[in-house]
Symmetry: C2
């Protein structure tokens, strides 16, 4: 959903990830890098050999981490295994679109099996995961044919996985609101661990820039910032471009979210240095866990398109750099999944950490929400006069 | 102003900084690390040999970088050299307090001379720079004797530097409002390049946690989010703990700030992994430059104090880790000043970059401020009912 790879020279190579580079450092230096950059070195979870082997055989990177909280006297730990799944599309974008969708379903089924077997309780998929991210083309057809009802084939495909593994699934789709005049939305459907649809959340901030002018396809959500109570915590979904807007994260948190997913589709260039910053800042500022999920690979489209940046027309718009990760309210984060391959990241968190950090830092107490209610209301007025002081 | 070093084990050593560690990597790996972590490798500015030698002789780290913008057809570049100064206190905290202050004045004079000779146009000093950060002691006296009027001795000390070097100075002091019943505030005085006081800004978010319960000394600002028009751009000052509050940064930006300073005093542990995230997220989200400035060194106080964390009483509260840096609206940032020594960071920016990124990304256009005015107003109501959806 954002920014142009074309504005910067393409990197000479697609590296697998920063952490591989840090592996070259001495243990002492590596500890310092992780302490300052990532808060701390998280405990790595080891899975049984069969699961590891099965994942590797299917070309799936499986990583597990643990983010513990302190024991409390009045509350038991609330351990939740939060999973992020990132994947490339499977067939060329010239294949019949039903075949494209079914092939992605099959692949994500494999990824969900790995996540389920790793014990995941809540799984997040990437933005519009059942299709190529075709919005760069600005062609309506055939891509809008991939839009589906909230209870359409993609949700139906996921329900058995939710039931089999007793896991909540955050299912971001291109939605066609069949009940309301076929309008298209960018939506996340929340499927409970019992396989029922709890509800939907829609994308609040629609990029209107270059290859990501998604306003060709859908408008801003009118649903506000709903949070979904699940068996494994309260969940909010900040879809893609909303991560650039701190108020979006905040409203999900103020509505009680304990884990905020950020299903995304974003490419290198301007966007990549922001990727590790925004979801993490939101986790810190709002005392929540956040989960950034980004697709991987380069998607080539049948017809060339231009990007509104003076460059020649082209058929792809760059490499989706994956790098999905989980950020914690205490400033810690997991290492990222690969920049180049399909993967499952399972992070065992103790949701008690949210309130522990809230009690420790107290940002809610010092937030002055009443002041900002007034000042943002004033600033939203078209006649607002900025408060500027000049030298006499 | 925040968090406890005591909650985590002290690091075995105070390393100089991350970039020193990255220097061990191959050029290719280093380029990838900087591209993904820091947006890009910025051009380093070289100073004349005499200036370099003079800085080194005084134990001052001098670093210069350049953050350019694209040429435009309708506007000339707006090149501004933005400087950050970080420093340790000079005398023991047992010395007479006037001697302590005068010794810091003298040292900061040396740092200002280096900044001025390096061509700085706008210089930011650290929070309450004229004194040790004594608020951890919760002793009112003698520390409140160090509070000064906006036009008191510390401002008077700086004016000749502003005039000599034609530079704006952001001067964060412990303010005593002598005109209003001697109330104490945490304030930044903005001194113009002509040596006149343009105005003052006060700290909006007062930490109330552990060693940083500064509410013993001062209350939240009632001045809102003023922005100061200077000869070198419009300046906002988000003092210390306000960096944890995205709305604080946003309101300065909505009032027209082009550069937002964040004069701070913060120590290791929980705070350090946040340091590189928050000011940078603010630069990205608001299309502005931000300048994080933090003091260095360990300050030992005459009487022991406790930290509200179950640990034994002690006389210092940890190492201020410096690491001052500048973040740009396009996700780039400078490397940091040292974690351990006094320093001057001079960054030549082109303020045109703000609007260029604004035009490119368009976050203002997709910000939906009117929606958040309503939702934040609702959420600020004590009777607000979070929007939670449950499984039927």
């Amino acid at each position: 959903m954002n920014a142009d790879s074309q504005s910067m020279a393409a990197p000479k190579r697609e590296i697998e990830g920063l952490e591989k580079i840090f592996d070259q450092l001495s243990t002492e230096d590596r500890d310092d890098v992780f302490r300052i950059l990532y808060g701390k070195q998280l405990e790595r979870v080891q899975y049984d050999g069969i699961l590891e082997t099965d994942a590797a055989a299917k070309g799936i990177e499986l990583k597990g981490y643990r983010i513990p909280a302190a024991p409390e006297q009045m509350r038991a730990p609330r351990l939740v295994k939060v999973a992020a799944i990132q994947n490339a599309i499977v067939l060329p974008t010239t294949a019949p679109i039903k075949d494209q969708r079914d092939a992605i379903h099959k692949r994500v089924g494999e990824l969900l099996d790995i996540a389920g077997r790793a014990g995941a309780n809540v799984v997040g998929l990437q933005e519009a995961w059942h299709m190529p991210f075709a919005f760069c083309t600005r062609e309506r057809l055939p891509w809008t044919e991939m839009a589906e009802a909230v209870d359409g084939p993609t949700t139906k495909f996921l329900i058995p996985y939710a039931q089999k593994y007793n896991m909540v699934i955050v299912n971001p789709i291109l939605e066609r609101d069949e009940a309301k005049d076929d309008v298209i939305w960018n939506t996340a459907v929340i499927i409970s661990n019992t396989g029922r649809i709890i509800g939907r959340s829609r994308k609040n901030h629609i990029p209107r820039v270059g290859d990501f002018n998604e306003s060709t396809y859908y408008m801003e959500s009118t649903l506000g910032h709903p949070v979904f109570e699940t068996a494994f915590g309260r969940i909010g979904v900040n879809i893609c471009y909303g991560r650039h807007h701190p108020q979006n994260w905040m409203m999900y948190a103020l509505n009680g979210a304990e884990i905020i997913f950020n299903p995304s589709a974003t490419i290198g260039g301007l966007s990549e240095p922001l990727w590790g910053i925004e979801a993490r800042n939101a986790a810190i500022a709002n005392h929540v866990f956040t989960v950034g999920i980004n697709r991987v690979g380069t998607e080539v489209f049948p017809n060339e398109f231009s990007s509104g940046n003076g460059k020649p027309a082209h058929k792809d718009f760059g490499h989706f750099f994956g790098s999905s990760y989980v950020a914690a309210p205490d400033g810690a984060r997991t290492p990222a999944l690969s920049r180049t391959s399909d993967g499952v990241l399972v992070t065992e968190v103790d949701l008690n950490l949210n309130r522990q950090v809230k009690d420790h830092w107290g940002f809610r107490m010092t937030q002055r929400l009443d002041m900002y209610a007034k000042s943002i209301t004033a600033a939203a007025d078209p006649d607002y006069r900025p408060h500027i002081i000049r030298e006499n």
